[in-house]
């Protein structure tokens, strides 16, 4: 092992891996919640829906589109003052979180909106005809009926987030990306870059596997 990867310090690797997992995990959770809220708002305020409101819809839609279009690496830089304000530093795993979440949530919000639009209008109407409140429609109809699409959407988003953490690593956020850049690239230790890359791939495959499994398990259509 040590002959094959002379420059790899396994403790450092595991520390970096757990940092990547931490950043991805927290960002995915926050993105799921925030994206779901934004997606629901986009859907509910659109034409013909419960909270139909053209102005609100246009504003949310513009916000989502703008943040979705900014390249992630630029978003990190733009958000430095904001990050400093709420995290107190621009280094380390926690400092990457604001940019990760703000970059991914609008992306996921659009997927949520598309998933909700796929729901049969008749089912929503049936719930209304039974006297359901808006909250009941959201919790008992919209979310359960779109759940497979919501899960496969968050899977795609989570994989994108693993990539984002690597990018954030280059500008000081820690994790496997940071390791590959500092230890691997800058010091020309190709074995470190290689191990970091393999680990990122493994994480991506595991996420994809879990996502596919859960989606197929809950889809009763």
């Amino acid at each position: 092992m040590n002959n094959l990867f002379p420059n790899v310090q396994w403790e450092t690797i595991w520390a970096a891996t757990s940092e990547t997992l931490y950043m991805t995990g927290v960002a995915v959770a926050a993105t799921f919640v925030l994206g779901l809220i934004l997606g629901l708002l986009l859907f509910l305020t659109s034409k013909g829906n419960i909270w139909e409101n053209k102005i609100a819809n246009t504003v949310i839609s513009a916000f989502v589109n703008i943040f979705r279009s900014i390249p992630f690496i630029i978003l990190i830089i733009l958000l430095i003052p904001f990050t400093k304000l709420i995290v107190g530093t621009i280094l380390g795993a926690n400092a990457a979180l604001p940019a990760l979440i703000i970059g991914a949530a609008p992306f996921y919000a659009r997927m949520v909106e598309i998933a909700l639009r796929e729901i049969d209008k008749g089912v929503i109407e049936a719930a209304k005809a039974m006297g359901a409140t808006t909250a009941q429609i959201i919790w008992k109809v919209l979310i359960p009926e779109s759940l497979p699409a919501l899960i496969s959407g968050i899977t795609v988003t989570a994989i994108a987030l693993v990539g984002y953490t690597a990018m954030a690593g280059v500008v000081g956020a820690g994790g496997l990306g940071n390791l590959a850049y500092l230890e691997g690239f800058q010091r020309n230790h190709n074995d470190v870059t290689f191990v970091a890359t393999v680990l990122i791939l493994v994480i991506v495959f595991i996420i994809q596997f879990i996502g596919d499994f859960v989606t197929s398990k809950i889809d009763k259509r």
Binding site: G122, E125, A129, M130, G131, K140
Partner: protein
């Protein structure tokens, strides 16, 4: 139970306004099965959706079980809706829930405690005959079974009124009949008022007490089913009645027969109620010097007795034919001499 007073529904649209329901007044009694028939686009769905406030009328009052649906909203409207069940052409079940969970859904909405919910669901599953399929998902059910779930779900909160929007239009004829039988059964057992809309006269014939015919947003004819069948006034009503009394090919057959029979008369007899069960033909042959030939006929059962149409050819002296026709009229049978126009 349901009263509509000068109800109008106008939809705004890009190409001007669409008047889907135009000044409709109706009264539907408690416990009756009331059918509304019309072609696609007549405004039937708009009308039925006014009854549970899924649409608000542009003008007029919609009074259901003592509440004016037209001007209540929020909590009061939601409560009113729990007393009005609805079933749909495409069932509108939640695919993510099993049969049991779908039926429990309106009970959850109404805030029924869990234990009571489970008991009620069991009752409903029995009522609609879905024992053994409780844990199936909608995707594993046939159309008829899905509609049974729809019916159970609509009845869960013991509504006073059941609205059916083309509830059998997506089903094959046999399944349609079994669902219609179930609706009649429920109507009798629970004393539920049922309003159904359809474009199939067969549905009206089979279960309705009264019928309204809708065209271009207006009710153009209304009355007891047998009465409307016997004496349809409007052209559109006649066409609907023909849907079930005259098979497609009748007209052609009759035209052909008229050419064939150079003497005598081809007569269309329309029987309603008890008249349909009398041995009229036997009496005719015994009492008059006539040759009688049955050309084509059909008897259908309605909710209130039978209804039939018979085409016969009578041959004999003009005098005898006239006397026979007069005799038939006395038997409360509608007679129409068919001629070649």
């Amino acid at each position: 139970m349901i009263t509509l007073e000068h109800v109008t529904k106008v939809y705004p649209s890009n190409r001007g306004e669409v008047t889907a329901v135009n000044d409709v007044s109706l009264h539907i009694q408690e416990g009756e099965i009331f059918g509304i028939i019309g072609y696609s686009g007549a405004g039937k769905s708009s009308l039925i959706r006014l009854l549970n406030g899924l649409e608000k009328p542009t003008k007029g009052n919609v009074i259901v079980a003592g509440r004016n649906i037209a001007n209540i909203k929020g909590k009061e409207l939601r409560q009113a809706r729990q007393e009005i069940g609805m079933i749909f052409q495409h069932f509108n079940l939640l695919w993510s829930r099993t049969v049991r969970e779908n039926i429990a859904f309106p009970l959850e909405i109404a805030g029924v405690p869990k234990e009571e919910r489970l008991k009620r669901v069991d009752e409903l599953i029995q009522l609609v005959g879905l024992e053994g399929r409780e844990h199936a998902y909608p995707s594993q059910l046939s159309g008829g079974q899905k509609q049974r779930v729809g019916i159970a779900r609509a009845l869960a909160n013991n509504p006073k009124v059941l609205l059916c929007d083309e509830a059998t239009s997506a089903l094959d004829p046999q399944t349609t009949d079994s669902i219609l039988d179930l609706l009649v059964d429920i109507n009798k057992r629970l004393g539920l008022t049922i309003v159904l809309i359809t474009h199939e006269m067969h549905v009206i014939r089979k279960i309705c007490d009264r019928v309204a015919v809708m065209e271009n947003g207006k009710i153009v004819e209304e009355g007891e089913v047998l009465h409307v069948f016997r004496q349809p006034q409007q052209t559109i009503t006649k066409r609907f009645v023909q849907q079930i009394t005259e098979p497609e090919e009748t007209k052609e057959t009759i035209a052909h027969l008229l050419q064939q029979y150079s003497t005598g008369k081809v007569v269309q007899l329309t029987f309603v109620g008890e008249a349909a069960e009398q041995p009229l033909m036997t009496k005719l042959i015994r009492q008059f010097q006539l040759n009688i030939n049955i050309l084509q006929g059909k008897i259908s059962q309605t909710h209130h007795g039978s209804y039939g149409v018979l085409f016969i050819h009578m041959d004999g002296s003009d005098e005898d034919i006239e006397r026979a026709l007069a005799f038939i009229r006395q038997q409360q049978v509608e007679v129409e001499v068919v001629t070649n126009e």
